[in-house]
């Protein structure tokens, strides 16, 4: 049976890169690990689609924010591990600041005027 890909509600636009960078800031991980980590830490709220994850990783590699190397996993399987670079760390800082500013802004908008 052929399936037409249906659109699921996505992450907030522009946040995937930040989530990946943040996840990697705790140590090197492979793609599956990154997806798993985001899912766990968000209590299953955020699922990273593979269709977005791997293109995003390529984009980060291209920008030089992450580095990739093939290593062995604990189960002795070859996997590509991604490590945050110095530039990536800086970028994470930038994105976090932007994100927080945005959240704060949204919060201000959503607050009831009486409370102010």
């Amino acid at each position: 049976m052929l399936r037409v890909m249906a659109k699921k509600p996505d992450l907030l636009p522009g946040t995937l890169d930040m989530l990946i960078l943040k996840t990697l800031s705790r140590g090197p991980l492979h793609g599956y690990g990154i997806a798993l980590q985001i899912k766990r830490l968000s209590d299953d709220v955020l699922t990273v689609e593979e269709g977005s994850l791997y293109p995003a990783l390529q984009r980060l590699l291209l920008q030089g924010w992450v580095r990739a190397e093939w290593k062995m996993t604990e189960t002795n399987r070859r996997a590509r591990f991604y490590t945050l670079t110095a530039a990536g760390r800086k970028q994470l800082g930038v994105e976090l600041t932007q994100f927080e500013q945005m959240i704060a802004a949204i919060g201000r908008v959503l607050r009831d005027p009486q409370e102010a």
């Binding site: 037409v4 793609g31 599956y32 593979e50 269709g51 791997y54 293109p55 291209l62 030089g64 070859r78």
Partner: protein, 883 residues
Amino acid sequence: MEVLFLKKLGALLRRRRFGKELDEEMGFHREQVERAFIAEGMEPKAARYAAMRQFGNATRVKEKSHEVVGFRFESVVQDARYALRQLAANPGFTAVIALTLALSIGANSAIFSVIEGVLLKPLPYPHAEQIVRLFLSSAEYPKFPLNPFDFRDFRARNKSFQSMAAFTRGDMQLSGSGEPLALSGFGITAGYFRVLGLTPALGREFDTNAETPGNGRQVILSDRLWRTRFNAAPDIVGRKVTLNMQPYTVIGVMPPGTEHPGNDYHSLPYGESVDVWWPFEFAGNPAQRGSHYMEGIGRLKKGVTAEQANAEMNALMAQVSRENGGGDWKILVIPLYREIVGANQRMLLVLLGAVGMVLLIACANAANLLLARAAARQSEVAVRLALGAPRRRLIRQMLTESLLIALLGGGLGAALAEGGVKALVALLPAGFPRAHDIHVNAMVFAFTFLVSVFTGFLFGLAPALQASRMDPKRSLYEGGRSSTGSARQQRLRSALVVSEVSLACVLLIGAGLMLRSFLNQLNLDPGFKQDHVLTAVLSLPQAEYKTGADNARFFDRLMTALRSVPGVQYAGAGSDLPWTGYDENAGGFTIEGKQPLPQQQFHARYHMATPDYFRALGTPLVRGRFFTDADTNDAPKVLIINHVMASRYWPNEDVVGKRLTFDDHPKEKDWLRIVGVVGDVKDKPNSSGAEPAFWWPHQQAPFFPEMSVAVRAGGDPRQLVNALRDQVRQLDPLLAIGNVRLMDQVADESIATPRFSFFLVGLFAGLAIVLAAIGTYGVISYSVSQRIPEFGLRLALGAPPSGMQLMVLLQAMRLALGGAVIGLAVAAVMARAMSSMIYNVSPTDPFTFLSVVTMVVAIALLACYLPARRAAKANPMLALRAD
């Protein structure tokens, strides 16, 4: 940015490894997911499918990752390859579209090269935008030459011009070594070439000293004359050459590419048409400013516009008229560019419009064919959509296909344009301005390329959007026969055909109007019989033929000699031939017992004729008699006038015997008696009416330096060319014969422009109607094949086959009539733009409009003949089984 580029480049070079690594990485990911599912207690097989499902479309993920690191052009190359495969798989389809596009793009490029050469290319003078032409203008004479002394005042007093010059036609005859040669020449004032921004290659141009009468005969040669007649002698400047039997000193040689800016009065076409320039001398009494034969040209000062100059010149003219008691003249300052190409601009733009419509029709046709094929490709598109191909990419792919076809058509079209331009230039009317500037060049190729790309988008976009908008599920379930989509498609295709038909209608109406106008001009009674007449121009040098009597004696002897040549019926000579220019006498004569209307003058074209001039040309005598050999200088003075002059100045009177005079205080002998009235000949074949004209008998006429000979032959007039040359040589071996032509040719050239535009618009209209017929056929045929089961069923239920035919015919009729109605409405608006190009036909000529509708309907019927037959023969069993 550069780093990014280098990294991408690296990825491009290692793309195979990139793909493998990505595969491995994703494979690992899928395995991990699978394991997780098993750990949750799932069956291994089910876990695997679940993992695969969760991972989704691996190919698509890979593609997206590729896109991140890849260059845009990679996918473009992919699209192009795919498109090429598609096109190669359907060679017939590709060929049909590419060929129709090639025809229409080629025609567009050919017309564009004419426009580029004639309208867009700058004139061959530095800062040509500063150059303007100067004319006089009045209510009666909208465009009139200047008086030399008026010009001299303008030149001295104006503040708007850097420089100003005047010129007048004056051909010369070169003798000396070799055959005498008739040269086209111009008398020019000092600084004429400075106005044009040209400098002599050798020597210098005339200064104001040369304008004083008697200051020595000087001449400037054209490059062509210098090379052909003087072997490009480097020491030519200062040498004497014999012109009009007199020695002239060469003071300069103009470089190649010195183009004559064109002139209105005794015109010589624009281009390298002049052989010699001689200094114009301001002779005579400056107080007498009645004769007008100079054409003005000037170079505006920087920042001065033609309008400002116009205002200043009109103030100047008013001043000059006050001082000298001149007439009520205004001054026209016309930019040179407009003066040269203005008359043809509209025609060329109309042609561009016509050929653009052909391209639109070809686009509609191509779109129609693509739509039909898109229907056949529905399942392919559905599968690709289902497999996750993004719609944007599908649209891009289809557009790539149409672009490739368009570029193929454009390439073929460029090749066609090469040949087409040669044919066009050969077809152009003689003397068409800037014809030699028309080439297929880089500009034309760029235009062709742009048009091709535009075309590709235009005809590819609708089918691509249509195809990508389909719902893959439905299409796959229905096995490629979706009914709702096809209804919408049918509407789109019908709309395309209706627009094709309407455009074709517009073109057909344009062509029809031009054909009628052309036929009108062909069937005009020109006032003479053009067949069997040989003509030539003779210039009698004033050095040898000093008086009118010398002139008359020469032509008497020549006519007598020619009459004795076998094959000659009549031999005549006159100051000019029909349609080759005229001189005008305004207010210069008095009619016995008549007063001109207030604010007007008696005026007439004035000519001179030998006794047999009218017989040789076949101009009929309306009343009275022709001249005879008895009308000598000693005999009573006589005149022949034309019919218009008779009816205008002597309405309802018998004019023979009436008198007029050119003297202000006439004695009895100064009155000229009218002895004959001849038929009218218009100034130009499409002039709205003939103007008053009179002829002096050559024995009594003032001196006309240039005379035209007309010989009527019993047989082929071409066989008389040598006899004519021989007879002239026997009388005067140093006389050059110029412009030997048949009157047929003269007449032919005068209708060359309407013929040219009619031929092209007709050609385009023909192309348009064929394309529209193909389009109609395509749509009807497609809809019939869709409805074959329906027809079969109807037949099986007892409907008569003729009923099926009628249904198809009605469908075609709806398309044709819909298109025709829109076409007629558009044509009725647009034909007004053509009104200056058509002669004696209303732009909404009902006959033309009606014929076009009939024709379009007939062609639509023809186009649906085969599909209608197919509908009537639909086999019910076959149709039902096929379902």
